[in-house]
């Protein structure tokens, strides 16, 4: 590898002069600048960012720590984050926690030793607090994405789970549904709590009972809803609609329903949080509370960089990006069952 010294020697200048040319810093005569530039090209010189990081104490490395790149929501978040990072001259490390605290912890350790300049994180759950505190203790700025963590203050980009859920459930109620089930994410995750609140709120506001038998908690990535759906279907007074707390859960529910010969929405309406990306373009089927995922990512990175640069101000910023209710054909008035 050719170093700054190789260039310096061949151009008959000091390493410092080369450094100045590279970084456009200090005053350099046009003549030597040209000469140095030429030698750099001849030698195919490429600055070593590790060495640079070591002295500058900044890596220009950001991390996107999400729970599953495979979920269209996070896929789009990633795209937004990537674009923003590139624009600001940062590189992006991709980390998949898989909704798993142990993996998240591994990644946080890794990021610490990487000396990432900042982390954009969708915390796996409330227990992520420990990991976030570790980042804090080591002076690594982070922005929380999509989820809050009790006891943790930081810049945050959030959706409005409660409101979105309320809208979805009121939409169902408006269609005439009275027995609406909720298949929720883990209560360890703030969005799951928010969505349940919105669900409960909507029911109460409309004078409907809360039936705890119609509320089930699962993992956000758990695909198999067979048991739950079965149970509901065997109920004497079975639900006519299901609100799934995220897109994956909704797909699992719909698969189960189909497998049992039920049709959506004729036999059961299904709605959920988060859209399905290309799936919805292909076939606008699912009624959803869609979140502006790209913005989650790009604003997250922007906040992070502002924080890193010290442009952010002392108080934490919390942005709540509202969801958009998109009514499609997976929801309809309750049928004759």
């Amino acid at each position: 590898m050719t170093t700054i010294y190789d260039v310096a020697k061949k151009a008959n200048v000091s390493a410092m002069t080369v450094s100045r040319v590279i970084n456009n810093t200090g005053r350099i005569s046009e003549k030597t600048r040209q000469r140095v530039r030429k030698v750099m090209e001849e030698l195919h010189y490429v600055p070593n960012s590790m060495a640079r990081s070591l002295v500058l104490q900044e890596t220009k490395l950001l991390s996107l720590l999400i729970t599953d790149i495979t979920n269209p929501f996070y896929t789009t978040v990633a795209r937004g984050a990537e674009d923003a990072a590139k624009q600001y001259g940062y590189r992006l490390l991709l980390c998949n926690s898989d909704e798993d605290l142990a993996k998240e912890k591994d990644y946080v350790e890794m990021l610490l030793s990487t000396r990432a300049d900042g982390v954009l994180i969708a915390p796996a759950g409330d227990m992520s607090a420990e990991h976030l505190r570790r980042l804090e203790k080591h002076g690594v700025p982070y922005v929380m994405l999509d989820r809050e963590v009790p006891g943790i203050q930081s810049d945050t980009i959030l959706g409005n789970s409660r409101d979105g859920a309320r809208q979805l459930v009121e939409h169902l109620i408006g269609l005439g549904h009275r027995r609406i089930a909720l298949i929720n994410g883990p209560r360890q995750v703030s969005t799951a709590r928010g969505r349940q609140m919105g669900y409960v709120e909507a029911l109460k506001l409309n004078g409907l009972d809360i039936d705890s038998g119609l509320i089930v908690e699962m993992g956000y990535k758990q695909f198999d809803a067979t048991g739950t759906v079965n149970k509901w279907l065997e109920l004497p007074d079975r639900p006519t609609a299901i609100f799934a707390a995220n897109n994956f859960l909704a797909v699992g529910v719909i698969q189960t329903l189909r497998r049992m010969g039920l049709r959506v929405p004729r036999d059961m309406s299904v709605v959920c949080f988060d859209d399905l990306g290309i799936a919805s373009e292909l076939n606008p089927f699912l009624t959803v509370a869609a979140q502006p995922a790209y913005q989650f990512g790009s604003m997250g990175i922007q906040f992070l960089i502002e924080r890193i640069r010290g442009e952010a101000g002392p108080e934490w910023r919390k942005i709540i990006l509202p969801p958009e209710l998109i009514v499609r054909s997976s929801s309809a008035p309750p049928g004759q069952g």
Copy 2:
């Protein structure tokens, strides 16, 4: 930040001893090992991987340079790559070229200065050769993903575009279609050429004419197929089926058809290369040649790491992962149009 020297001082040993404890190298008495370990914890010491990289001349940083993380194919590739990288103790840099050679070039420059240990790349096109040679010249191993580049030899993970295309088109022919259109990716991309070959081959093998008016070339990310589809529909002898060279193109085509009031497959069959991820789980609609995307990613990273470690052998490896024809309901016998 606490350094190895801080630990050394507090533990009354030299920095070297601490280093040895960290890396489990050399002989250390159990007693000092314990002591050093304890001090490391007390001081919340985390090794600085930049400093380590600088002396070791390896960064444990790999790059995934793909054309769009938003495409379910690459999303799944990314997931496979991520998992494999994590497993081997590497970190993964996410880079989106957007099918754009200029962006790809930017990223390659960035990766060079990052001193990435290796690159897993889906080249944006044949002109990527220049970028790949640049990696080569700088001694950065790379594995090509999904696409070949003429004149470039390296480890490669490929699908079988030709065969998959042939299968799709023969499937259509088998259904009774005689006029089959191809909406292809750019000929600058090897998969587009392969898919066209398979298409032509299938037609010829079945005694059908090749009508160049039924072959159109677009960008793989180009969503708007309106003009093309319109043109085809106005033909006196219009096609009854469309083979889209990738999933995005297929979705664009189907959207256009729907907008014009045509139904798939009743009025027009549509098939394509690459599956749609969650979309196909929700609604198994599109007939596709599905590729094992996760394997593309995980094998790609595995190859890359073997190459980096020098375990790879002198000859280049080229793996061709066969696609699987999945017949669903977007293809049917030609109707009465």
